[in-house]
Amino acid sequence: MIGSAPPVDAPETEDKTRNRRVVQASEHVVEIVSDSGEGAQKCGQTFAAVSAKMGNGIWTVEIIPAEIQPPPRTPEGASGNRIRLGTGPVTNWGDETNLVVAFNEQVLLSRHRLGALAEDAIVLVEDLWATHDNPDIRAAWARAMEELGKRRYRIIPVPMEERCLTIDENPRKGKNMFALGLLASIYRRDLERIEEQIAYTFRKKSDDVFQRNVALMRLGYSWAEEHLDFVIDVPARPTTAPLVVMNGNEALGMGALASGMELCAMYPITPATSVSHYLAEVFERFGGVLHQAEDEIAAAGVAIGASYAGKVAFTITSGPGLALKTEFIGLAIMTETPLVVIDVQRGGPSTGLPTKVEQSDLLAALFAQPGDAPRIVLAPATIEECFHAVITARRLAETFRTVVIILSDANLATGVQPFPRPQLLEEWVAPEPDLSPATQRPYEWDARSGLSARTVPGQPGGMFTVTGLAHDENSKVAYSAGIHQRGTTMRSRKLAVLQQMLIPPRVNGDEQGGDLLVVGWGSTKGAIEESVARARAEGLAVSSLHLSFLSPLEPGLAEIFRRFRRVMTVEINYSDDPADPFITAENRRRGQLALLLRAQTLVDVDCWTRVPGEPLRPAAIHDALRSAIANLARRDVNLTSDTLRAGGLA
């Protein structure tokens, strides 16, 4: 038996049958890191899927290097998965890691140096490098151990390669399954389910491959059973309600299938592309065409051409692609051609951080067009909402004859989470285009709402030419200012109509008001709500509100904001820190949602934003909430002393 220290907060009991101490935990964060190409992600995904199936809440994020094959044994090459495992639902990636399996000490160092690991983390690390033939590698190992030794990690060397070599001559390909076996033993995972999941993971490979992977997994399992003195029990709470588990990009793809859209045009771009990988596998069976266009611009054009000719079509992209599609999006808005644009946001500007999360496309999504180009913008906050967002977007695009942009992000794209299995409805599915003779003019705007029915090619009597030039109800090119004024008004009015149909957002916390209201959008919802719960448990009067619609904004915001002494957005985009040199209240650049809310509500909305290239941690948000409240208290003191001075009393 090796080592002893369990995680701090854990009560212990004896597992009589195996003589291993059972560490009870309501949640645990585990990560598997390797060099790129060693399969740590497959290990993590399999472990997460099985955990979800056993009834644990999970949230998975990928640890992705920027290069396809970075040099081996380097901190920048760290690749893998991080799984937060809980008894109840898990809504975000959490804070620090409690247990890590590392395939070499360099990738482990990378996680250590990023501050990813808890002070008392359990570290299982391949020990091959300690006794390697190459003296440089031995020296690197020694230096790493010295650096890591300054923390209270519990380091457990594991002879992964040595054991794997007993059944596979290429251990680089097998360690991930060995690691899966370790985790299966530590977290008491159901081996039958693990084997089922391995079968699914390798469904495109031969039975041989499946058998070898199962054998490697069992080898890791046995090693852990024999050598580890602890197990970690994160009780599962199996539910009778059927659940599904997937990542956000798969959910977007499935939402597209449920929406009945039949054409997706795209150009490869990280982190959006895996939506199209999924669709490439299944879309044709659903009567769909996935068109990989020659560039981002053409992808938008093909989608618009298809939409114009029938059912609403969609395009998938990320920030740089959204920039390239700008002109076409303007055309779709001007011609009232419905279109769904999915933007899986990454860090920017320019090429930015291709694999990392950011929420910096908000203002571009709302305002990128020259001229007045009102469109609908939605932001799913969970994996489940990714599914429903596409169905909603298709319907809105059709009803309002406009562009709907869905803002997802890299966190949702690769995050894996179970959610209630959707009960599919036929009414979600786009109907066949009506090709009966047209009786309406091309833009027969309802004078109050701006809404109009569209005509599609094939309808006798409906022939007209759509144009991106200013036009009247007959789509005739207009040169008078009056006609342009009217067309612009009609296109804008549609957003007001939609805004009045929306339900006012729900306050998470105290509906009546309080000291601080945190406002968020998109993938930060879980982390924000968790940090608000912590703050409320400490007695702080903090609540939060999460927006799904960014254009139009949901109704009633100004009224809700007035019930709180301070309103602050939390976002993953840039804002100036008020304490930085040169920064004043006048020149401070604020978070994108904060800017929008200030303009729309005339409330002095503050912001706390960061661009760390990773999801926000609940603990970091919690700190920000506490200091915002502390600032309020300081302001009160100042106000009081000002009042006293003014009254000549101080």
């Binding site: 069976r285 266009a293 992808a299 051409g305 298809a306 090619p457 144009t467």
Partner: protein, 319 residues
Amino acid sequence: MMELPCLAAGCAVDLDDERTLALGDYEGPTARWCPGCGDHSVLTAVERLLVAEQLRPEQTVFVSGIGCSSRFPHYLKTYGFHGIHGRALPVATGVKLHRPELNVFVVMGDGDCCSIGAAHWVHATRYNTRMVAMLLDNSIYGLTKKQTSPTTPRGLKTNTQPDGSYLPPLDPLSTTLGTTNVSFVAQTAEWMPAHLYATLRAAYHHHGFAFVRILQRCPMYTASIYERAVKDPGLIELLVHDDGIVVPELDRIYKNRVAHDPSNLDAARQLANPGERLRLGLFFRDEQRVCYDELRRPRKISAGERISLLNAELDKHAV
């Protein structure tokens, strides 16, 4: 990829529809191009083609970009999509992929096709999606008032290159013929209406992406570029072949003729090189090339079938 036979598709003539359509069924409002603009004669030839083929106006879509020539769809009574500069081909591809039964025509100028939209031109040629792509090439940006285009003759003075266009003009025929999976390339001229009409008709009947370059004069800015050839048939050379563009009434006037088998791509590439004379006719045609739109034609499914398929997908992700 498995090669599917190119099915006859794209000619939407409804057999139950007993209407006989006349010119008036296709004519839109009076065209507002300058008097003497080559666009007028292309419009006339196209209207003649629509009548001859009895294409249903509601089943026919003209897609254009931006520029003088891109006003084209507005002057017809079919469906039209007047989009953005350089991007007519992606829009047309989207229309055809989603609604293969529609007749699709694309109208582009030289700036549209050969400059800002050049990427789409190369790829549309390779997709070989069934449509007629007309390049209305007057060698100048007219609508924005005389700027150099990729096909502007070297030395021609413009408002952006007042000392004369710096570079030799891009040759659209060679570029198209040099593209993988090219299947139809022809050249005609706006001042030869019989040849223009015969060429467009051959393009319409082509099974694939039919690229037609139409030589044009802009009466404002490039009125003189083809002046000598317009006056002297000796400066024109017709490509002739039984499988080519056959216009017997031109025989008397145009004596320079080159026998060219349009199935010969190497010879087509040779002939495309600009020479002493303007070469008009069918450079290349191959009906056996892969058509992207025909490879990408999934079956239709009902909403009910969709839901049961999606439930099976969800089963794979069930907890």
